[in-house]
């Protein structure tokens, strides 16, 4: 496939690996923010090709993983109601809630469907006018514009049988929270390329400056990730802390303006609990008041559901980079993709699931 194969070319990757070795003189801790990057790194064994001392810390960029338990419980409460067709992305169906998961509820007869695009929920609403369609919308700034268009069109068309359970999250506030944390280990970042294709990268300039940490906007193929690492390590070695764009075929400095405009008209920035990390100020998006008619939390009166996170899952330490997945005492034992304790073992982008799938463990 054009624009994929070239960026998976082993010869180019080898050259980049040797370039990284040639510029590295000391250990560095670098966080890849996005779960898609984590998946590529573990799948292709990129971390094992790096000089000793280059430690990749897997960041919290898996929206499924950071969706707080209370939102899963809200989803479960709505999905079991008569007359509701509940839909979301596939990964969301297996996240354990307090009592069960959405897939278990589906097995008991609830009408729960996996959709590829939020627009599919809009189609369902037009085809099933005697049903209430609820879309559970999670995701970073990459996905939020898709939800925004559904909300906008539902309002334009005055479709009253569709509503949205919105748990979108924003990347820059969590990077700031990680850098500002007293136990922060991260010295440089690979920025999430597709988030930046929407938002651009101006939001990261003050963060790089304030925390003296280079941020290199990076893509997802092996050659992209190696290039991002090379440019990040070079900055660290030279004592620079700038925002660089190593994914310029997709990301522009200003981002995608039409998408930003629609997001601003539909969403407010809000404080949001992140599973495993706690409250992140300005870390989420919620529907504006003029969209309250399409807010599933209000329509089904689930706003006051609050759930305590279980203590046996150590995903918070994994998401902060304090432990590797295989260092969790439950990894591969009580916690597997078939019987997960937490979301990082469920999502295809969760660090625990990637380690399990690609057999990055020796004690299990």
């Amino acid at each position: 496939m054009k624009y994929l194969d070239e960026f998976r070319d082993p010869a180019t990757a080898k050259k980049l690996v040797s370039a990284i070795a040639s510029v590295t003189t000391q250990p560095w801790n670098i966080m890849e923010v996005c779960g898609g990057q984590t998946h590529s790194i573990i799948k292709y064994g990129i971390d094992q090709l790096l000089p000793e001392g280059i430690n990749l810390i897997h960041g919290p960029g898996c929206p499924v993983c950071v969706t707080p338990l209370e939102y899963i419980d809200k989803a479960l409460a709505i999905a079991q109601l008569q007359g509701v067709i509940f839909c979301s992305f596939g990964d969301m169906l297996r996240i354990p809630g307090s009592q069960c998961d959405l897939l278990g509820l589906k097995a008991q007869g609830a009408d729960i469907r996996i959709v590829y695009s939020p627009l599919d929920a809009l189609t369902l609403a037009q085809q099933n006018t005697n049903k209430q369609i609820v879309f559970f919308s999670v995701g970073f700034e990459t996905t939020a514009p898709a939800t925004a268009l559904v909300a906008y069109q539902a309002r334009q068309l005055q479709l009253n049988n569709i509503s949205l359970l919105v748990c979108h999250v924003r990347v820059p506030p969590v990077i700031e929270a990680l850098l500002d944390s007293p136990d922060n280990q991260v010295q440089g970042f690979l920025g999430a390329g597709h988030v930046c294709s929407i938002m651009g990268y101006r939001e990261y300039l003050p963060l790089a400056e304030q925390f003296r940490s280079p941020i290199v906007i990076t893509g997802f193929e092996p050659v992209d990730i190696l290039l991002g690492l090379y440019r990040c390590i070079r900055q660290l070695e030279e004592g620079r802390f700038q925002v660089e764009n190593a994914y310029s075929r997709v990301v522009k400095e200003q981002g995608n303006l039409p998408a930003q405009q629609l997001m601003e008209s539909v969403f407010d920035i809000t404080d949001r609990n992140w599973r495993g990390l706690g409250l992140i100020e300005r870390g989420g998006l919620s529907l504006k008041d003029e969209y309250s008619n399409w807010n599933a939390e209000l329509r089904f009166s689930v706003s006051d559901i609050y759930t305590q996170e279980p203590s046996e899952c150590h995903s918070g330490e994994v998401l902060k980079g304090l432990i590797k997945p295989a260092q969790c005492p439950e990894f591969g034992g009580r916690c597997t993709p078939e019987r997960p304790l937490g979301a990082t073992m469920v999502s295809s982008e969760g660090a625990c699931a990637a380690y399990y799938r690609y057999r990055r463990y020796d004690h299990v």
């Binding site: 499924v64 990459t142 996905t143 268009l149 597709h194 294709s197 070079r234 310029s248 522009k252 629609l262």
Partner: protein, 82 residues
């Protein structure tokens, strides 16, 4: 979650409302109708990056070529990459 893949636009469905514009996209032989609401500049034969049924960016072929050329020169000369 932020998985997005490149595909080539093979046809456009014109709509007076730019937010309702769609296109048929070819992903290595598999085609799918995709929203072009956020890429009003996209034309037939352009490559777009697609996420959750939406094109989120028109792939900049000049930048892609320049990047690949930089790798090539780097391989030949052993010089630092930009």
């Amino acid at each position: 979650m932020c998985l997005a893949v490149p595909g080539q636009i093979i046809s456009l469905s014109g709509d007076s409302d730019p937010l309702a514009r769609t296109g048929r996209i070819n992903f290595s032989g598999i085609t799918r109708e995709i929203s072009l609401a956020y890429v009003p500049e996209a034309r037939v034969n352009d490559y777009v990056i697609v996420h959750a049924g939406f094109a989120i960016s028109v792939l900049d072929e000049e930048e892609a070529k320049a990047g690949l050329q930089a790798f090539k020169e780097f391989s030949e000369s052993g010089n630092n990459l930009a």
